[in-house]
Subunit: 144 residues, 2 copies
Amino acid sequence: MKEKDIFIRFLSDRGLRMTNQRGLILDAFLGTERHVSPEELYGLVRRKDGTIGQATVYRTLKLLTEAGLAREVDFGDGVLRYEHSYGHEHHDHMICERCHRHIEVVDERIEELQERLAKKYGFVLTGHRMYLYGICSECRRRKA
Amino acid sequence: MKEKDIFIRFLSDRGLRMTNQRGLILDAFLGTERHVSPEELYGLVRRKDGTIGQATVYRTLKLLTEAGLAREVDFGDGVLRYEHSYGHEHHDHMICERCHRHIEVVDERIEELQERLAKKYGFVLTGHRMYLYGICSECRRRKA
DNA sequence: TATCAAATGATTTTCATTATCAACAATGAA
DNA sequence: TTCATTGTTGATAATGAAAATCATTTGATA
């Protein structure tokens, strides 16, 4: 399992340790699709080990993010979510405002233009967040 | 004052009333540049009327947003900010991760591509949020 | 084995935002 | 005008996510 190795290496580089709890949390995280909130993940992990604390889940998710295995996603609803980062290349998000369906999208030309736009203002880009909001075809049909 | 008329009309369309407090909050909001947090605005309004409640500021900002006079901006730091919407055409945000300097940007080609991207997935766009993060020239120079 | 930093879980704290509620004010019908 | 209805407000409590605290446990290493 590649991810676990990466995490172990990341930890030991910092003088941190791989523990049982961190292993469980990583496994649970890898088993998810799309986006998990710390709370949801806490629920999943607890099924395996009922004694785990939610603070540990929060802490581990931060670590996974720093290790490059997870990525924070903020839909602006007040809950931070996490998605896989390793082996999942960058993408942006398109969200249906009616059914909350969610699609991952990328457009290379947009990415390119973002770089240029940044350069124009003297910035060196380190990252970006782009959320497109709209109504999906499904919901438009249903309305009719 | 155009904005006040718009707000009054918006309110009466909904069977709501223009009040002294709402007027004060609108004025204070119009007097700001860039982005205000509810907390900051509360501070400003209180100078004019020390009895105003912060819940009223929160409520009024929501109303202003619905009226199309304000726009919510979420930089992801846990505080929602508001910026002028009326007479201020849409723009995106570029933020320096080091000094937190903030620039408003637009790129018509990006906007256009976003539309096309949405269409490709059957979405009709209603809006979007785009935040570009990077390091500004100032900060890069200072580092050297 | 002794030592010491890291890790954990329970708990508390923080902080932004929202809900609740009683008091008050405007509106409109009778 | 009177009275009922409904909107508005401010104070306060409640919520909920995230971070901080802390006593205790764990694990690596000398």
